[in-house]
């Protein structure tokens, strides 16, 4: 049972109809397996379809072809085991911090008192216990992101999907948030798919780094990251093995970035 992969994509393809009526392939023939408790980072050139991969796993979108399985079961609609942290702010601006974190359990029918208790617990863990009465607009970007993390973790997801969650934050806050994420994740044993365009972040966080091709996205290469845990982002960055890995992976990723850039230049010309 424990050998069942947490996430399994086989030959997954997703096509969208663009507003102009043309057919756009975001993801093509994608095979990817994520083991239980594994942290996988997905890197690729901008706009290649990394985010689409996550929406397929979450059940927000269905694949046009191929199959997506979560714990061996094909994905049909949104799975309650899944948590999703979005790139943009997705906390509800009209709810207070506490009410935002309570939203998940309340939507799932947990009684208010219990939901409040669980929400307070997670707010304490992300260091926002003193801010539960604030509205999101009264918080900094980093704090809002921590509300989003608490909002996701409070549902005890066993599969955590993260779509460039820290890309809007400044460099220092981002490093702190990455450490905090590793800390929160260590206690849960959940599987993580972390989409990012930042290779540093990918190597520092993940057990494996998946490099995607230029769009339509498919897996190009997968690199195991053999750095010991527990890690802290700032320290692991200075290890010789980190630099080695960075060079190796960039050799693969850089090529795809170049292809994407040349296409963009061709379109602009």
């Amino acid at each position: 049972m424990t050998d069942t992969p947490a996430i399994e994509l086989t030959g997954a393809t997703k096509r969208f109809r663009t507003p102009s009526g043309a057919l756009h392939t975001a993801v093509r023939d994608l095979d990817l397996t994520v083991a239980q408790g594994e942290f996988v980072a997905v890197v690729g050139p901008t706009g290649c379809g990394k985010s689409t991969t996550l929406t397929l796993v979450s059940g927000l979108e269905e694949p046009t072809e191929g199959e997506v399985r979560v714990y061996g079961e094909p994905v049909r609609g949104i799975d309650p085991k899944v948590g999703f942290v979005f790139q943009q702010d997705a906390v509800f601006p009209w709810r207070t911090v506490l009410s935002n974190v309570m939203a998940g359990p309340r939507f799932r029918g947990v009684p208010a008192a219990e939901a409040r208790e669980r929400a307070r617990d997670w707010l304490a863990r992300v260091g926002l216990a003193a801010f539960e009465d604030r509205y999101p607009h009264q918080l900094s970007g980093g704090m809002r992101k921590r509300v989003a993390l608490a909002q996701t973790f409070v549902n005890d997801p066993t599969i955590l999907l993260m779509d460039e969650p820290f890309s809007a934050l400044d460099v220092q806050t981002r490093a702190l948030m990455s450490d905090q994420l590793l800390e929160l994740w260590a206690g849960t044993g959940s599987s993580v798919v972390f989409v990012t365009h930042d290779l540093d972040e990918a190597i520092a966080l993940a057990d494996r780094v998946v490099v995607m091709t230029a769009g339509p996205a498919t897996v190009k290469e997968i690199f195991p990251v053999d750095l010991p845990r527990p890690r802290t982002v700032e320290a692991v960055r200075l290890e010789p093995r980190f630099v080695e890995l960075y060079r190796e992976i960039w050799a693969s990723l850089g090529e795809e970035v170049r292809i994407t850039r040349e296409r963009g230049a061709g379109r602009a010309a």
Partner: protein, 293 residues
């Protein structure tokens, strides 16, 4: 991590007391003076306008029979207040008009919001009813007032009906647009967190659309008043619109202006109440309107 919390706390609580120096004091005094100057200038404009009108009317530069004059208008208002109008006390006329406008407004708003959200959320309904609503919206709805008079008689019902048709459409279109333009991330987030369709509508779409809806509430209360007044003007037994019609029928220009003045005051007061309610409801919004989030 605790370090970050501390620094963020400091930046959030940026409202530290300003150092009192002669410069800040001078700046505050200048700001106060500016405010006073603005108020004084406003009053000056009003006095000059009314004064010029009065003088022109008295010296017969303009014909006071057609254009009346501020002192006569004031006398007329005072007479209505103290002795009542031909149809009863002034308070009763205001009450009638407000009652019709408010009833029409509430019905129009509730209908507009419900239908707007329903059509905004349910694609099928929007596709079916879309063209019909466009056609209805294309009719200049004020011409329906005489028809309502025939259908519902001289009583308040016909005025309520014309207020409803005027209010419904702007509210409907705003609610519809608001429900359509909800941030897709918010909806996706709510669904992932476990919200079903009903919860997405009630707890995400409606709160997100309130900003849109409230914009239309301001405008639409004005429309409700127009509906009620025009209805009364065409035919009624009570109300401010009837007052206008009666004054016009007796060539009493001062009466027409007096009724207009009373209407303006009533409209301003209700507008103020609405703004107050809005402030209470939108505490979650940042103070400056420029930045959404």
């Amino acid at each position: 991590m605790p370090l970050e919390t501390a620094s963020e706390t400091a930046s959030t609580a940026a409202g530290k007391p300003p150092a009192v120096t002669s410069r800040t004091e001078a700046r505050e005094r200048a700001a106060r003076n500016r405010k006073l100057t603005v108020y004084a200038a406003r009053i000056g404009v009003l006095v000059a306008f009314l004064g010029l009108w009065e003088v022109c009317a008295r010296t017969e530069v303009i014909d006071p029979f057609n254009f009346s004059q501020p002192s006569r208008i004031w006398d007329q208002i005072w007479q209505w207040i103290t002795h009542g109008t031909a149809q009863g006390s002034l308070g009763e006329q205001i009450g009638y008009t407000l009652y019709e406008a408010l009833t029409g407004w509430v019905i129009g708003v509730v209908g507009g919001v419900l239908l707007g959200i329903a059509l905004g959320r349910i694609r099928f309904l929007a596709d079916v009813f879309g063209p019909y609503i466009k056609v209805l919206n294309a009719i200049p709805r004020i011409v329906l007032a005489p028809i309502f008079l025939i259908w519902f008689g001289l009583g308040p019902a016909s005025k309520v009906a014309s207020a409803v048709v005027l209010v419904f459409f702007p509210v409907f279109f705003n609610a519809f647009q608001g429900a359509r333009e909800v941030d897709r991330n918010l909806v996706a987030n709510a669904r992932i967190l476990g919200a079903d369709n009903r919860r997405v509508t009630l707890q995400v779409v409606i709160p997100a659309a309130t900003t849109w809806i409230f914009t239309s509430l301001h405008v639409s209360f004005g429309f409700a008043l127009i509906g009620a007044i025009v209805g009364e003007y065409i035919g009624a037994t009570k109300g401010l619109g009837l007052l206008v019609a009666a004054a016009q029928g007796t060539f009493n220009a001062a009466g027409v202006y007096a009724a207009m003045t009373i209407l303006a005051v009533v409209a301003l007061l209700t507008e103020g109440l609405l703004t107050f309610a809005e402030k209470r409801l939108f505490r979650w919004k940042p103070a400056d309107a420029g930045d959404g989030r």
